[in-house]
Amino acid sequence: MGAGWVIFVSLLYLVILFLIAIYGHRLAKSGKSIVNNPYVYALSMTVYCTVWTFYGSVGRATQTGLGFVAVYLGPAVLAPVWYMLMRKIIMISKQLRITSVADFISSRYGKSTFLGILTTVILIFGIIPYISIQLKAIGISFDLITQSDAKNTFWDSSSFYRDKVNYFTILLALFTILFGTRSLDPNERHEGLIAAIAFESIVKLIAFLTAGIFVVYFVFDGMADIFSKAATNPKTSELLTLSSTDMAKSNWFWVLILSAISMMFLPRQFHVTVVENTNISYVRQASWLFPLYLFLICIFVLPIALGGLLILPSTAEPDMFVLSLPMHFGQGWLALLVYIGGFSAAASMVVVSVISLSIMVSNNLLMPLLLKTRTATIDGYALLSERLLYIRRVVIVVIMFLAFGFYKSVSSSFPIVSIGLISFAAILQLAPAIIGGLFWSRANVKGASAGLSAGFFIWFICLPLPTLSEAGILSSTIIDQGYFGMELLKPYALFGLQNVDSISNACIWSMIFNIGLFVIVSLVTTQEVDELAQADIYVNIEKYSTIPDIEVLKKVASVQKLKQLLVRYLGAHKARSLLKDFKGKLSSSNDDQASQDFIHYTEQVLTGAFGAASAKLLLSDDIRQQNISLEQLHEIINQTKEILEYSHALENKTEELTQTTNELAALNQRLTELDEMKAEFISTVTHELRTPITTIRSFSQLMKTKENMDPAQKSEFLSIILKECDRVARLISQVLEVEKLETVSKIDEGSCHLHTVTTLAIKRLQPIADEKNAALIYESHHEDLYVPLSEDKFLQVLLNLLSNALKFCDHENGIVKLSVTRNTVNKTILISIYNNGQHIPDDYKNRIFEKFTQVKDGNLAKPDGSGLGLYITKKFVEQGQGKIYFFSNQQAGTTFTVEFG
């Protein structure tokens, strides 16, 4: 195939991807995002499958048979763990606007600049080899597909200008810049990019499957055929036995671990899974869609490997079987499809990884360094955001250049998978800090820094550095004799660990030092207040629906200052829209102190744009922050607790007090009333006593001074005197009775014969009835009833009620009737006294049983009696455990009823 044609197709494919990206971006802007669904999300995750999968796994399979699958088993088997971890990581990242894995780590450990830098450096060292193998694969596949082109003498890599990989590198750098640095989004979302990635995932799957189907069903006669042929062929028979898969168990173990970790923490993986995630619920679907994809793409790996071994000459590069097989059979179009599939896999890996690395370098490496060496030059930059994009573009070019360099010097001599595993081992170093940080709140920045540094160092001397030796750049004695000639420092057998492959060796030792130092240093050192807060957020993210603000670290900044910050670093337009988005209260006056909410919001926004560490540095000047020690924090917390307790207790006490005060006030009022009542009582009693005494005295004096008084008059006067004496006596006894009733309310134990007492009462009052020309009627059919009240009391009750009735009955034709009835159901005795006089006025009805309340009868000048009668009557009835009530209106007259149950 002509080289020119291949180049054209490659370019065309990139343009298609770019157009898809633009289209996806436009759609997202208009609200109809095609990217925002779980399937695209899962597909974007398959950027995990690069040329390693496409080409490298076949090569691996030719050596270890099914062993290649370890790299895919890791993610598949640990999908539930992945699910749980990723959910937590996504929640945290959304809340804190994390835009890269370096930011994630740095943020967790108190927004540490050092950790951010360290992580970024590790990732650069780790990913550049990975990028280089993509370039390598593109180069080789290009060569392979154009080898039939006799005219292709130009691309012979004889010089820099003739090295196609060089141009591909530049091309990819350009496309990365175009894809990733068009605008500064505080969330670092690139919708268009995701759309393109999803598309290329499909292309790569289709390409590989097509190649596989071709080999299995067209070259051979199906799976059974290929395997049976392989079994009989000495070249391949070993691969089918388990012994070939019996890579050292340690190797299996570590490859599983490495692949699982890398699937989460590779920069490109972190970027598509976390940073570009739009909806956390997609994680659930991705956790089975992704393994499904892996399964599909792996189905034909072994068959292709076997097929290649069986058919192709032994000089054929095993990594390239996927392409060379179709070429061998002259399937030009299929070969082109495969080539594009590989190219696609390489391109997507490069673009996403490099974008992610550029974000990290700009936010976590360069920005903090620039800010730390802060001078007036920062203030001179009107719009740092423009500067930032420019920085990123430079970073992208530099990274690509470095990757190219590594390719030229190293990768060309190594199989793809080996280099890939070296990269994975670098990613592994991040795992303790991340996973530890998610679940162990004691994990602190010093521990993480120590562990990470140690792990990185071990990794470096065990894996990438020896490759330089093997590639001939460094002395080859390093591998055989160890560094500085020391036996214990042999990179592939560090500290004397024998019989493990280089990867396992590196992993074991780097993890021992990494985790060991991480844990020990974290336990031994203390955390700053900053860290504590972040640790709490990370470990307990589920508790936070919004990120709480630590009131303790009171931040002070004026509204104006913060607005200026936003404008300066994000541009006026972006700042305005962000200010509009701010849902909290924004003081209108610029000189006012900004609310904690607003300060927090500004911090968040800047974090999204520049990473947590840089944002913190940016703001540190404009926000005065009181740094307090842990002890002070403890004390403040304790004090606050105490204060809260006291205030609670105080509230309770206040409530109690209020209640008590109210009760006292009520009591006081009652007492005052009682006092008044008492005074009134005494006043009334005195008055009542004085009146008859006045009469008695006056008449007595008259009789004394008047010598010749008419005997009739004398007689009359004497009767009056006697009556008045009775009156006084009666009053006194009533008052005494009242006094007794007031102090002791006892139950009367006595009983008396109803009929006897009633007849007695009637007899006593008959004369008065006659005087008034009133009819006094007694009606009873119950002669043998007994009343649960002592006789004198019951008599008094009857006398009182009857005399009242006589007092108030009609003056012309007065009728007073006493009737006794018995309720047959509940056996209560009812004694009713009726009179046909004026009914009791409504305003008296409530008070009639009270002391000194007397109803005024129209005709009488003054009511007879003291007003105590009914009061005493009621008390007596109650002492007999009875009830007294009345009914009175215009038509029915008045009836008082005493009920004994």
Binding site: T686, H687, R690, T691, P692, I693, T694, T695, I696, R697, S698, F699, Q701, L702, T705, K706, Q713, I720, E724, K856, A861, K862
Partner: protein, 121 residues
Amino acid sequence: MIKKKILIVDDEPNIVLALRVLLEDQGYDIEYCYDGTSALEKLVTFSPDLVLLDVMMPGVDGYTVAKNIRNHQNAEHTNIIFLTAKGTKDDKMEGYDSGAEYYIVKPFDNDDILEKVRELL
């Protein structure tokens, strides 16, 4: 000599009787009633020279009657003696403020009443 006219106002019938007997024997012309409203009527119809007035009465009380007497055109010259069981200094003051000549506390001495009546009339 014209008989002097005395109006007795008290809600206690026995007291009214006692005073009637006492004063009629001395040759005064007596009218009596048992409440304030009637007193005001009798004031106009009987036009007494002296009023013996109880304070504690239902409806219109003694003080009000006294004030009315004082304000009445034709009754300026009418003398008032209060008779009452209420005996505190405040009550007496109120009594005098209402325009009474004398304030006598019950139980009273018959001679005391006669003396005062004679003095005023």
